[in-house]
């Protein structure tokens, strides 16, 4: 199969994921420090630093995972690829689409991002594109809906 033109999620997705991991690491460090500081000061410092170091390592993994996301709109189907350790590539024909929804959680909204998800009749179909800029998400949704309608096939 010839390689399609991959599109990537918005760069803001990486910022968002990194911020989430950083917030988690700092939160964990503070909690550990607060919990241990009354008994041993040295232990509290070590635990806090360890949490921060773990957070820094996690940043590397998060970066790789975010970079692995990609999607390509082809003539008859949508390609979505994801994952580093478990690499996945889903092919979803537009004709099989039942509906498309766009969701944006509070954190995603803060960064102006949205997740587009395609639903087929198969529960196992896994077609999710996270971290699209709001206008790109709307464009993808409209295009998928349009293509899905023109190519619709029964069960």
């Amino acid at each position: 199969m010839n390689e399609p033109d991959w599109l990537a999620p918005s760069p803001r997705l990486l910022t968002m994921r990194r911020a989430q991991v950083a917030a988690g690491a700092v939160g964990a460090a503070v909690l550990l420090f607060a919990a241990l500081v009354s008994s041993t000061l040295a232990g509290a410092v070590i635990a806090g630093v360890a949490a921060l170091v773990a957070g820094a390592v996690a940043q590397l993994f998060v970066t790789r995972r975010v970079r692995a996301w990609g999607y390509a709109e082809r003539e008859d189907d949508l390609f979505v690829k994801r994952g580093v350790l478990f690499a996945r590539l889903s092919v979803i024909p537009y004709g099989r689409m039942q509906f498309v929804d766009v969701t944006a959680g509070p954190v995603e909204r803060l960064f102006g991002l949205a997740t587009v998800r395609m639903h087929t009749a198969a529960a196992a179909s896994d077609a999710r594109i996270p971290g699209l800029a709001s206008d790109e998400a709307a464009r993808v949704r409209d295009r998928l809906a349009e293509l899905g309608e023109s190519q619709a096939a029964g069960l």
Binding site: M1, D76, D77, L85, F86, A87, R88, L89, S90, V91, I92, P93, G95, R96, T120, A121, A122, A123, A124, S125, D126, A127, A153, L155
Partner: protein
């Protein structure tokens, strides 16, 4: 509203619908009625029963149905009046269900499974036994023509493909996983009773719940598949089975999403297998029974491989056999699965074989494929392997080209996507 054409259900319906509760009430009530007469608590009990019976009668009184042009209409409910309209053109299948109590009173339930997005089920519970078969044929005829033209009242003739002999069913259960479990437990108890009677009795009394559970499983299997028969009818394959409850079900060929052949370890020695189909259906809803939401139906509860392949031909014509073996390095990744792994395809059907102890072969028609996924895990990457999954609208079965060489998986992904597109576009 004119009352013309409206019909009621069978008067015994509330009694049958209450089912086991009815039997329990009778068992509880009869001894109290036969013994003393003047205890006031009896009047209270009687009042409760009378109230329940009254509710049943009222629900029967307010429920009525009619065939109105192309629709089946059902009206029901006292406080929350419901008027349901089922377009007959969307009927997928009409099943006849006869629970044990219904058979005692010579009534049966007619269940219309609707297609479309809603995928509801219209239930007429219960109707007179003589009424059900002609009504079913009439409704089916209406469903096929989509008009009220003169419909044949005769049931379309069926050609019987399979009849399951009871000894074969018993034997298959005895060597199945559930059966073996029961036998081991029983054998253990018998040996225990001979060696140390006291201890065995203690074990039997403490493990009573487990014993009952195993017995229930065995019984359910037997009850469901007793006198199983499969016939070819005009509107699809028709299944009949049941010992206490009789079930009739029709499977339209177009609804089959995937077919699976299961060969458990012990059955393989006897050359037996089980053939099952996965049907398109909605997600199971809350409170829905096991049987109505069950997406898998056995086309052949137990039978020879040759017979199973013959039946497969009825559901998926020209099905290929799995012939392409995975590379031998897969032994390192899936040591137990390796001996079974294989796949094959024609231009319209994909077949895959897998399993650790049971051998499971799945056929998926390419026109039913909803999406294709390519997955590569860390161990697979080290061995240059990948898996291609085919997703269908069926919920229980799915085909996976497991642990193929990277290059082969990539090529297969491209081919399958292309073939699935062609199959989808082809006129049915």
């Amino acid at each position: 509203m004119n009352d013309e054409g409206w019909r009621r259900l069978h008067p015994l319906s509330p009694l049958v619908r209450a089912g086991r509760a009815t039997i329990a009430i009778f068992i509880l009530l009869v001894p109290t009625l036969l013994s003393g007469r003047n205890a006031s608590s009896e009047y209270f009990q009687l009042a409760v029963v009378a109230a329940l019976a009254g509710l049943g009668v009222v629900s029967w009184l307010v429920t009525r149905w009619r065939i109105d042009g192309d629709d089946l209409r059902i009206e029901t409910g006292v406080l929350r009046r419901q008027s349901l309209r089922f377009p007959l053109s969307q009927v997928q299948a009409i099943d006849i269900v006869r629970p044990g109590l219904a058979r005692m009173f010579r009534v049966a339930e007619l269940r219309l499974r609707m297609g479309g997005a809603s995928g509801d089920t219209a239930r007429l519970a219960y109707l007179n036994e003589h009424e059900v078969e002609p009504l079913r044929a009439y409704l089916l005829a209406l469903a096929h023509r989509g008009e009220t033209a003169e419909a044949p009242l005769e049931e379309a003739p069926e050609r019987v493909l399979v009849q399951l002999p009871t000894p074969r069913l018993v034997a298959s259960i005895l060597v199945s996983d559930v059966g073996m479990l029961g036998e081991i437990v029983l054998l253990g108890l018998v040996i225990g009773a001979i060696v140390a009677p006291g201890a065995a009795r203690a074990i039997a009394s403490t493990g009573a719940a487990e014993l009952v559970a195993v017995a229930t499983l065995v019984w359910r299997r037997f009850n469901q598949e007793y006198r199983f028969s499969l016939a070819q009818a005009d509107d699809g394959l028709r299944l009949h089975s049941g010992l206490v409850a009789l079930n009739t079900e029709t499977i339209r060929a177009g609804r089959v999403q995937a077919v699976r052949m299961v060969e458990p370890l012990l059955w393989r020695r006897l050359g037996w297998c089980r053939l099952e189909v996965d049907l398109a259906g909605r997600q199971r809803r809350k409170g829905e029974g096991e049987t109505s939401g069950r997406p898998i139906r056995a086309l052949l509860p137990v039978g020879s491989r040759a017979l199973a392949l013959e039946l497969l031909e009825h559901v998926i014509p020209d099905a290929p056999q799995p012939a392409l073996r995975p590379p031998s390095r897969v032994r390192w990744k899936s040591p137990l699965r390796y001996r079974f792994l294989a796949w094959g395809r024609s231009d319209t059907v994909v077949v895959t074989r897998t399993g650790r102890i049971r051998r499971v072969t799945v056929w998926v028609p390419l026109e039913k494929v909803q999406s294709v996924r390519w997955v590569e895990g860390p161990v697979q990457r080290a061995l240059r392997l990948a898996t291609v999954h085919l997703d269908t609208a069926g919920r229980a079965l799915h085909a996976a080209l497991r642990d193929r060489d990277r290059g082969e998986a990539d090529a297969a992904l491209g081919d399958l996507v292309r073939l699935a597109r062609a199959a989808r576009r082809a006129p049915p």
